[in-house]
Amino acid sequence: MDAILFLTFAAIAVACAINLVLQTHPISSALSLVGVMTSLAVLYLLLGGSFIAAVQVIVYAGAIMVLFIFVIMLLNTQGERTQPKKNVLPIAIALPLLFSLIGVLAAIVATQVPAGEIVKFGTFSGGDPLTFGRAMFTRYLLPFEVTSVLILIAIVGAVVLAKKEI
């Protein structure tokens, strides 16, 4: 059951990620990214992170990506124009490099991670809201407060950029 669930949602994630890169229209790309994020949320659930899975959907898919879609709809842009002089050379170099990067990463993972390490649903329940909150507000209190300052800066920055005539 674990393997079936993992393979299903991994396949959805990879398919959506490929779609994200290949689609020319930003809205299609944005929705593919939402697909990646929700399938990753399911994988987080399989890994025992129920809280982080919910936050993934609420914050990433429900807030950040809605902002993206909102901006795309606001600008109402069309798809990318196909360049008249399509340069084949960069793609010809990039694709082999891409596959070799995946190969190298997979080789490193395969050699470095012990083969006995398995993921079984239910063996780790430390990702529930209780444990998460305990750790967040004791050991990680200072980083938590620092991020609140970061968010404040971001809000001020966004308001200034949106308001002022630059």
Binding site: I27, L31, A61, G62
Partner: protein, 399 residues
């Protein structure tokens, strides 16, 4: 294996009841609105228009599903599907009654018992904006696009006060699981005041409840926040270009969302299936009394029906007898632990849904800038202050 069979049966029953209730919610809404405006409402199809939802469904199914030219076909077809799917998901975490044993099987009324129940509801509701925004954008029409843009901005803005209003009762209840929440609201202070979070010591959550209800009106695009489909300015907003079953899907999604958020409010603030006053003072006799009285009233009206409505002379007494039979069911000892809690849950749910319709019948629509200003300059700070006070009092009194 047993678990799968029970779950499938429960899922089937829940889906059936929910969809039927969605259809009849339209009838209830039209009837209540009509009576607010001093007119009879649907009256022709069946007794008092009771078969109107069925005829609406047949009408929508047999209409031609037009796909306009120049729409983004994939997203145009995907949006209504997404809307209805997301609207039906959240109901899985709502408990309608306590756990009970029947035929040697112990199960709870309600589909699942997730530890992150309320987070799931928040997550699904935050995804709901995609359906409306996409439907509006893919239609390739300026009214639809305006409706979609408005809904995206409105739903992001009102999600913050809604989430903050949910957090303060959670501080009192100490759980994210809906069943544990309702169980935590069991009992009576001083012997007669129910320990629902809206009344609970040390901080009654009245303000949270009001903020939650206001935010929820905006989340479900209802009057006075129905800017995404404001018919006087945007024709029909995001679903202007939709027809036939695709329109029906958006419609069903809207009503399913209303039912879900009212269920959440019932479980979170109004004590779920807990009765209004203790069983020692006879609260168990309320359900058969109300349903029995309704049955007697139907019998009386059937005998007094006008000559011009001969059909009522037969149908009213028939429904009245069914109601009296239902009232009798509440005295069967085996069914009592299931039916009485379910009655209390359903009655609170119906009261909240009535509030939704009542507001629609009485309030005018906001202007768009007023809507945004209200969310950010009043509702959000109010929710924040409410949360701070609740947190402070809980922290001071919990030692």
């Amino acid at each position: 294996m047993n678990f799968y069979i029970i779950s499938l049966v429960k899922a089937g029953i829940t889906a059936g009841v929910l969809l039927t209730f969605c259809a009849y919610l339209v009838w209830i809404e039209r009837k209540v609105l009509a009576h607010i405006q001093l007119r009879p409402g649907p009256y022709r199809v069946g007794p008092h228009g009771l078969l109107q939802p069925l005829s609406d469904l047949i009408k929508l199914m047999t209409k031609e599903g037009v796909i306009p030219a120049n729409v983004h076909t994939f997203f145009y077809l995907f949006a209504p599907f997404l809307a209805v799917a997301l609207a039906l998901i959240s109901i899985v975490v709502i408990p309608f009654g306590p756990e009970f044993s029947i035929l040697g099987v112990t199960t709870g009324l309600g589909l699942t018992d997730l530890n992150i129940g309320i987070l799931l509801v928040l997550a699904v509701s935050s995804l709901g904006v995609y359906a409306i925004a996409l439907g509006g954008w893919a239609s390739n029409s300026k009214y639809s696009l305006m409706g979609g843009l408005r809904s995206a901005a409105q739903m992001i803005s009102y999600e913050l006060p809604m989430a903050l209003a949910i957090v303060s009762p959670l501080l009192l209840l100490n759980t994210l699981n809906f069943r544990e929440m309702v169980v935590g609201q069991e009992g009576f202070a001083l012997g007669f005041i129910p320990r629902w979070t809206i009344f609970a010591a040390p901080v009654p959550q009245v303000f949270s409840f009001i903020i939650f209800m206001i935010a929820v009106f905006a989340e479900t695009n209802r009057v006075p926040f129905d800017l995404p489909e404001a018919e006087t300015e945007l024709v029909a907003g995001f679903h202007t270009e939709y027809s036939s079953l695709m329109f029906a899907a958006f419609f069903t999604a809207e009503y399913a969302n209303i039912i879900t958020v009212c269920c959440v409010a019932t479980a979170l603030f109004l004590g779920g299936w807990q009765p209004l006053w203790p069983a020692a003072y006879g609260s168990n006799f309320v359900p058969p009394l109300i349903i029995g009285l309704a049955g007697l009233m139907l019998l009386y009206h059937g005998s007094q029906a006008l000559k011009s409505r001969r059909w009522d002379r037969f149908s009213f007494p028939a429904i009245g007898v069914i109601f009296l039979g239902l009232a009798g069911l509440f005295f069967v000892p085996v069914l009592q632990p299931v039916l009485i809690p379910f009655f209390w849950f359903a009655s609170k749910l119906l009261v909240l849904i009535f509030v939704f319709i009542w507001v629609r019948g009485t309030l005018p629509r906001f202007r768009y800038d007023q809507l945004m200003k209200f969310a950010w300059t009043f509702l959000f700070p109010a929710a924040l202050i409410n949360l701070l006070i609740t947190g402070l009092v809980v922290a001071l009194t919990s030692q």
